[in-house]
Symmetry: C2
């Protein structure tokens, strides 16, 4: 075998090893605990199983995305959206203090983790993650809407467990989640009366 | 509002409720324990977080699929492939006894769980799951290859923890996993020498 062929094969093998090392590194997302419980309330959920649930939610609710939305880009974003938490941890969206340096911590995490991959894939994944974070495209807006909707459903189902534990108020829930309606009016029309009822019933203050 | 419009809106709301009920039902996949550990070995993994890992693995290894493979259908299959375990539990692929009635238990689970969805989505998801199980299309073969590859990587990384705990032999590992190479020779060329070394080093008998 001539040296060039050998080098090419090594590079291809190196690139596979880089991808496998990335998968091993992000396995740690299974150990990042969120503030939200399982629907069974048996324990808190982790960010890896949450990522599966919300990506599957996107596949299940594809018809509720604005027309023209590329649902596969939504799914790709949701598979990758929490990976930075391997380094940066999960920050509750209502946590003003923790949210201050969140962007900086997550940027550093994205640099390190996506940087483990071969250049083209690293750029592809980083672009998807940046798009999700910027919330400007139809795909990013819908992905963020679903990511917000899941914890609201958990709270509505568990008598506001995470809301109560974290002293989250009705006004905060509305302020943080009403943008769901700008991506998908049907989803917000489903959630809003349920959030209002929780407030009227007194377990969301 | 005329009665027809009202009926249409109710139907649309019912369909959304069906989708949300499905998401709540499959949340139980987070409580199905697999025989494989996290890479950190801190605990066994569950089928929900495994589904996230293998779907993300597909996105990361898209270049290793045979040309013409629709990677998004692979990802859809992998998001849905284990959902039946909510009712049927996880069966180790080396478990001959448990594998006997596995197909029957999983068919019943697929009927119940996908049957929670509006008809069109139920049929779509069931078709994807049937395709994954049949392992005939390029997409199903690649999805199955990745689903097999992840536990092999776990075992290679943990000194064969799950293989030893379940008395799995070298011959069984080769027999069950060599079809990875029929979907993606590059992936099998990566795994095979590592499995052989584990055998030579004596921790895979
Ligand atoms: Ca998050």
């Amino acid at each position: 075998m001539n040296p060039l062929t050998t080098r090419r094969m090594e590079t291809k093998l190196d690139q596979l090893q880089q991808r496998i090392d990335f998968i091993k590194a992000i396995d740690a997302l299974k150990e990042v605990q969120r503030k939200t419980c399982l629907f069974s309330e048996s324990r808190y959920e982790n960010s890896a199983e949450h990522s599966w649930a919300v990506a599957t939610f996107a596949l299940t609710l594809a018809d509720y995305a604005p027309s023209g939305t590329e649902i596969n880009r939504v799914i790709h974003m949701l598979l990758l959206h929490d990976i930075v938490e391997v380094d940066a941890g999960d920050t509750l969206c209502y946590d003003e203090e923790g949210s201050k340096d969140k962007a900086q911590r997550e940027q550093a995490a994205a640099d390190r983790l996506f940087g483990m991959l071969p250049t083209k894939t690293a750029q592809h994944f980083r672009t998807l993650w940046d798009e999700f974070e910027a919330e400007e495209t139809a795909e990013a807006k819908f992905a963020n809407a679903l990511d917000r909707m899941i914890p609201v459903l958990h709270n509505l189902d568990t008598g506001g467990k995470a809301w109560i534990e974290n002293s989250v108020t009705f006004d905060q829930v509305i302020a943080k989640n009403q943008k769901i309606g700008r991506s998908s009016p049907a989803l917000w029309n489903y959630l809003l009366p349920r959030i209002q009822r929780a407030h009227q019933d007194g377990w969301l203050l």
